[in-house]
Amino acid sequence: MASNGLKIAIVGGGLAGLAAAMKIAEAGHEVDLISVVPVKRSHSVCAQGGINGAVNTKGEGDSPAKHLDDTVYGGDFLANQPPVKRMCDMAPQIIYLFDRMGVPFSRTKEGLLDFRRFGGTLHNRTAFAGASTGQQLLYALDEQVRKWETQGRVNKYEGWEMLSLVLDDHQVCRGLIAMDLQTLELKSFAADAVIMATGGPGLIFGKSTNSMTCTGSAVSACYQQGARYANGEFIQVHPTSIPGEDKLRLMSESARGEGGRVWVPKNTADTRSPKDIPEDERWYFLEEKYPAYGNLVPRDIATREIFQVCLEGHGVAGENQVYLDLTHIPAEVLTERLGAILEIYEMFVGDDPRYVPMRIFPGVHYSMGGLWVDFEQRTNIPGLFAAGECDYSIHGANRLGANSLVSCVYGGFTAAPSAIEYAKNIERGSTGTNGIHAAELKRQQEINDQIVSNEGSENQYKLHEEMGKVMTDNVTVVRYNDRLKATDEKLLELQERFKHISINDSNLWATQAVPHARQFWNMLQLARVITLGALNRNESRGAHYKPDFPERDDENFMKTTIAEYSDEAPVLSYEPVDVSLVEPRKRDYSKGKSKSN
């Protein structure tokens, strides 16, 4: 089955990229799908708890309007509201589509889809497949896209990494350059439009809940070629992760959605086993402070509370850890509804959470910021689109749990028709495209050659660790301007030292040293965007918290931060937020929900 003409390149094969690929193939066009790993192994598999959609099967009077309100309120009024509304309206259809694709969602006695509660809402709105929902949704799209692959509509380039865009003389995107990670061969991909769907940049923080592929490198390349990057400073730190040597493993919010309780011993010197500490000697600090939402306050709030409790010395055994307790729930219920995540904990820590309270601490998890897009997922570069975590559009200053999966699919479903519409109307092979692919290919090859020939004393993996540490220490839960300034200076120092790395690998076949060097450079650029965005925003909103500026300042900062690349430093500007649907109000989760609609 031949396609009817258009060729669209998609970078990234997670939920957003595959959603777009499926729609484009279905519309009769051809897709080149470029992914650093086989798409079935994309980071979407790590999403655990579920996908939000106001299907309202529990007689709670839930509606897309309430989903919209929860999302923009949870996001502390930094998201443009029209696309959020469109996502919430589409969400029930998205869940039904996955149901039709055969996703083994958990079901009710009647055989209907079951829903559970997640943070930042009072409704049961989250459809789930055990506790590996992201994996199950990704697999469903992977299967559908594989079908299109057998029909010649989708060409997969797995094990390829995008290095740069190919732009013509008018700054119009005409394709991209990618590198085969086995041979290091560079290839130019001509395309009528390019959709970025590469996920988040968690590796900038060294250890995070992200997969090792989440470098943000390709997005950073777009930024360095003129794409705007928005709200970079909004980094979600998940309240509950399992600290590890190599990464911070996620402990899903669904653990609290199913009734998990967060506590510490009231007596900080209490050395008893948690099971032996009686109820009245436990401090359930979230439930005490937020009686309506309890353990299910939004993530930024839960994270700050846990962080603060530990900072004040109340952490379990005086360390940076609190209990997340499920032991009051019957083991068989936990196994069915949370099995996958409890296995992860048991596998890596050695305790069975069905019988022993888990020890958890916050960890970098998600970027609300990303490539700037308009309401049709178009970036400021004509021909370049973005969807999923790598775009900034939906979550404002803080993302609600189980909204990421739905935003990925919404983004892909919106970017696909938008890219098709654009591609139909451009002049193809027009003047100015001659030779641009060859020229960009040459430029990228020269960068590779330079990296390979460098013989310095610096070790790139050690530099990466230094970046991760300074970013985690200064640009996560609590932010101070002097430390942000010092962080930027450190990043500049690392940029300088990067010029003196040696890749330490004489065998270039399938080497990981050259790709890592390129990723690391790109991460440094985005790290500056995150840090300077935070420095400039003198207020506290959602995940961005400055003790010196503890209040939200709508007058000066109910604005989207826009970063544009320059050789010296990111150039920051601000754009008003479209709050035409839900009037901004103060966020307060200590009481029941304040009225809006």
Binding site: M22, E26, V37, P38, K40, R41, H43, V45, C46, Q93, Y96, L97, D99, R100, M101, G102, P104, S106, R107, E110, G111, L112, D114, A129, G130, S132, Q135, Q136, Y139, E143, Q144, R146, K147, T150, S211, M212, T213, G244, D246, K247, R249, A331, E336, I344, F348, G350, D352, R354, Y355, N459, Y461, N504, D505, S506, N507, W509, A510, T511, Q512, A513
Partner: protein, 267 residues
């Protein structure tokens, strides 16, 4: 081991060594000869094989003091859900992210961990292999639901939760290749292997998927088909997701037989 409410407490390494050795099988590229390098790193608690490899990569010097190339391996999620980091560790195929060094040392009673690439797939370099064949197998068995379109057609069919849970167990397959590495029948192109058969079963169990059962079974009738299963049952022992692979093979075999006997009636 103490026990409370059916909960067994894990046995832990009591007297860890001060350093741990990693004996790694190296290969420059596909087709090149292989050799072994041994590296030594300081012992730390909570070390897994991946963090040990990261440590070695930073400074790849062998125990003999020879500077060599950094070992190459695949990794991504580090939560045993993407399947990419599979390798043979102390003789057993598994994911390297969830292989905790304490447990390995406890099991072998030594201070050395041995790492080798999976042997049933092309060895790209060091510990990295190419498993694209497994994805081809998924094409061969039409491992998907046929949709009329992705536009809004309302919810899918009613499904009992028991069926959903049974399907979920099969649907957790991350195409890691453990079952194929352990299967004595799987080599070259002689047998499609457990993973693809279980995926065929996954879709044949779905009310919509049932409609195209025959297409999936057709993919299992060739020379490399389901009848090659020798019932060694190694697959189910090594599957990291505890997928009931032998049950799926048994049930699919039954469907194949029924289809062969009665399929012509529908023609």
């Amino acid at each position: 081991m103490s026990e409370t409410k059916g909960h067994r407490e894990k046995k832990r390494l009591e007297n860890p060594p001060s350093t741990v050795k990693f004996k790694i099988q190296r290969r420059e590229k596909e087709g090149a000869a292989s050799h072994w390098d041994t590296f030594e790193i300081p012992y730390r608690r909570n070390l897994n094989v991946i963090s040990a490899l990261m440590e070695i990569r930073k400074n790849p010097v062998t125990v003999e003091g020879k500077t060599t190339t950094p070992p190459v391996w695949d990794m991504s999620c580090l939560e045993q859900v993407c399947g990419i980091c599979t390798m043979v560790i102390d003789g057993r195929v598994r994911q390297s992210c969830s292989a905790l060094v304490d447990d390995l040392l406890l099991d072998t009673g030594s201070d050395t961990v041995t790492l080798a690439p999976m042997s049933k797939f092309p060895n790209v370099r060091d510990l990295k292999v190419d498993r694209s064949k497994m994805f081809d197998h998924l094409k061969q068995v039409h491992a998907w639901i046929e949709l009329d379109g992705t536009y809004d057609l309302g919810p899918g069919p009613h499904i009992p939760n028991e069926t959903a849970q049974e399907r979920y167990a099969l649907s957790r397959c991350m195409t890691c290749g453990c079952c194929l590495e352990a299967c004595p029948q799987y080599s070259n192109d002689q047998y499609i292997g457990p993973q693809a058969i279980a995926q065929a079963r996954l879709f044949n169990m779905h009310p919509t998927g049932k409609i195209t059962t025959e297409e999936r079974l057709n993919g299992l009738l060739g020379d490399d088909g389901i009848t090659n299963c020798g019932d060694a049952q190694n697959c189910v022992k090594v599957c990291p997701m505890s997928i009931p692979l032998t049950k799926a093979i048994y049930e699919t075999n039954r469907d194949v037989t029924v289809n062969a006997l009665f399929g012509w009636l529908r023609k």
